[in-house]
């Protein structure tokens, strides 16, 4: 072996050892800290400061932030299947919306007789349709716990059945993406129909309170934001644990060489189905948190375009890194808010342009930019080929022979 080679492998081993020391990734913990810290500060600034104070954060901003965090969670859900397993889902909006409808049904039932028609049991739109009694699938939705359960169960089950059928038949790539689009589109058409019993194209809205708290009150808004931030942090930590476990490594292996994984004895379709179900559940949680904050859920949330937008967020942030998906969602949505204020009709063009630019110039998104910076640092220190091992969310190395010796 030449000296150069020797040095290279020596540094390779060193870098590996370093990589396991810094596990589980200080960058990720930083993200959780910032997320929770900013949320707390904003909440305090909203509740404790007078409206005249320059540091006062308006309730509008609080709700906007809560909405962004829901989108961040949705983006993370998409990244888990797309970035880590190569399943490009263009239908995750469906799971988000189903979670949202579950929460919406609960909020609808909380209105009670305060609706326009004053019917204690039936939501307004049902009275309007001359329905005499609550459909069976609305039963029990006035119970918070039951509604939560259903809002998870239904999207989870749908993801399971869809995933089981698609992955078992070994549908991959573009065909799978088209199927996910079809899924969300079909649901959109179904939910548009009045007879479905979900309020037709108006959807569910005019919510009054949640768990007895007035949804318009500042305190409730702040609590919802905090709950969203907390759940985002929790799902982030859980997802990180999953992608860093051996399961996560198998999933990446499936992404890159599925036949190889199969011939090593892995039933890859099983892995894909469970990952897809987990991802759908995260999306559903995001939807459940979204609805009380924006105050409405309608079939537009099933629109295929929505799901495609999520993919752009992930691409911008950097797929295959969880924090990348979160950052991407926050940045693009902030840009969207700003942009639509100036040029309401131009957003789709801007989004399209952004996608093209990112795909061409930054195939690994902003996170890739960050990693490239770090890799260059590493290279100047003489490390070769190992830059990506220590970067970002890369799975931690197992403890090895050297470490024990």
């Amino acid at each position: 072996m030449t000296t150069v080679e020797h040095n290279r492998s020596l540094f390779g081993n060193l870098a590996g050892a370093l990589a396991q020391l810094r596990a589980p990734g200080e960058g990720s913990s930083l993200l959780v800290a910032i997320l929770l810290g900013v949320t707390l500060l904003m909440s305090a600034a909203n509740l404790l400061l007078p409206a005249e104070s320059p540091l006062y954060v308006s309730t509008y901003t609080i709700t906007l932030m809560g909405k962004y965090l829901c989108f961040a969670m949705l983006a993370m859900a998409v990244d888990i299947v797309w970035g880590y397993c190569g399943i490009l889902s263009l239908g995750h909006g469906a799971f988000f919306a189903l979670g949202g409808y579950g929460m919406g049904m609960y909020l609808m039932r909380q209105i009670g007789d305060r609706g326009v028609y004053g019917n204690p049991d039936l939501p307004d739109f049902m009275v309007f349709l001359n329905w005499q009694e609550l459909p069976w699938y609305w039963q029990g939705m006035d119970q918070f716990w039951f509604a939560l359960l259903m809002a998870l169960l239904v999207p989870g089950l749908l993801a399971f059945v869809f995933g089981w059928l698609a992955f078992r038949s070994r549908v991959t790539g573009v065909y799978l993406s088209i199927m996910t689009q079809a899924l969300t589109y079909a649901l959109m058409l179904a939910f548009f129909r009045n007879e479905m019993g979900f309020g037709g194209n108006n959807g569910l809205t005019d919510f009054k309170d949640m768990l007895g708290f007035d949804l318009q009150a500042d305190g409730t808004r702040v609590a919802l934001l905090m709950a969203t931030a907390l759940l985002l942090a929790l799902t982030f930590v859980a997802s990180r644990a999953i992608v860093q476990s051996r399961l996560g490594r198998v999933v990446v292996a499936i992404r890159d060489a599925e036949p190889r994984a199969r011939f090593l004895g892995y039933r890859t379709e099983g892995y894909k189905v469970w990952l897809f179900v987990y991802s759908a559940l995260v999306a559903a949680v995001a939807g459940m948190l979204y609805v009380p904050q924006v105050g409405i859920i309608n079939p537009g949330e099933f629109s295929p375009l929505n799901s495609i937008e999520v993919v752009v967020w992930v691409a911008v942030g950097g797929r295959g890194t969880l924090y990348g998906a979160i950052v991407g969602a926050l940045l693009v949505n902030y840009a969207k808010t700003r942009f639509t204020a100036v040029m309401p009709d131009g957003w789709l063009f801007a989004l399209g342009t952004l996608f093209v630019v990112v795909t061409v110039l930054l195939p690994k998104g902003l996170a890739g930019l960050l990693q490239r910076g770090r890799t260059t640092d590493a290279e100047t220190r003489g490390e070769n080929n190992t830059g990506e091992v220590s970067a970002g969310d890369a799975p931690a190395e197992p403890i090895t022979g050297e470490a024990r010796a």
């Binding site: 490594r249 004895g265 091992v389 799975p395 403890i399």
Partner: protein, 277 residues
């Protein structure tokens, strides 16, 4: 057994539930033969890739399969490993396991490892992780969630790293390896799984002469403990490792024997000279 007794049986803490115990059946090689392939036929849109092929491989043997491009060598491996369904025929692993009744994952878990013609490793993972994922053991999603390497498994990985000469590359991303190193890593991945039978498709394609020589050494050292079937075009290489050679032609076995026997076989000479002419 009544219901309570059944329930009590299920709740016993000192045993694993019967339906969770893997049905690992050891392969029965009491007749010294580990692979029986009989009357195998596969056709693609009417084209017979395998045509009534018979092949018997002894336990611990190193067998070389040769044949022109398109002779059906890869297709044969596809059938044995459960990737391709055959039209007729049978394939048995030992005397007791019907390979045609299992899927790819099950066949891999039975102890048949396969190296692809084009080297295929998990490029985004390190060499070490590639081997970790290949280890024999439970391959289910739930157990993978909490799986951690035992000391024994780490030793196993270290030994494989030594065997394939990649000790110093253990933390390199597999995607950054040279072509030859990828071939070795893939062989190492098979070894980590502790298979009984190794199917190796064109291991020295794209290797330098020196690398090919090391690969030949590696494969010969594996025979005995494992059964190895190697597909190769490189006659030099085949000569250096083979004890028994099977020649495939148009989806059927044309000749079988030692390298010398095969090279002097009139059928083989005719086919090869016919093609050369």
């Amino acid at each position: 057994m009544n219901v309570t007794a059944q329930a009590r049986e299920l709740l016993r803490r000192d045993t694993t539930w019967p339906f969770l115990v893997p049905r690992q059946r050891a392969v029965d090689v009491s007749h010294q033969v580990i692979l029986y392939v009989e009357g195998l036929s596969v056709s693609f849109d009417g084209f017979k890739a395998l045509n009534d092929l018979n092949l018997y491989v002894n336990d611990g043997e190193l067998r070389c399969l040769i044949g022109a491009n398109g002779a059906g060598k890869t297709t044969l491996m596809d059938v044995i490993t459960g990737k391709t369904r055959c039209d007729s025929g049978s394939a048995w692993f030992g005397r007791n396991i019907d390979l045609l009744a299992h899927d790819e994952a099950a066949i891999a878990q039975l102890g048949i490892g396969r190296k692809f013609q084009k080297p295929t490793v998990f490029e985004a993972h390190t060499v070490y992780t590639n081997l970790e994922l290949s280890l024999k053991g439970s391959k289910g999603a739930w157990s993978a969630l909490t799986a951690a390497l035992t000391g024994e498994q780490r030793d196993r990985i270290d030994r494989v790293l030594e065997t394939i000469g990649l000790v110093n590359a253990r933390y390199q991303l597999a995607g950054a390896l040279s072509h030859g190193q990828k071939q070795w890593l893939e062989i190492g991945m098979l070894l980590a799984a502790e298979p009984r039978l190794l199917l190796i498709d064109e291991p020295v394609a794209g290797m330098t002469a020196e690398e090919a020589e090391r690969t030949a050494e590696l494969l010969t050292s594996l025979a005995g403990e494992h059964t190895v079937i190697v597909v190769e075009h490189d006659m030099e290489f085949v000569r250096s490792i083979a004890r028994t050679v099977t020649v495939l032609h148009q989806g059927a076995v044309l000749a079988e024997g030692t390298m010398d026997q095969v090279q002097n076989n009139p059928d083989v000479i005719e086919v090869y000279l016919g093609e050369d002419a």
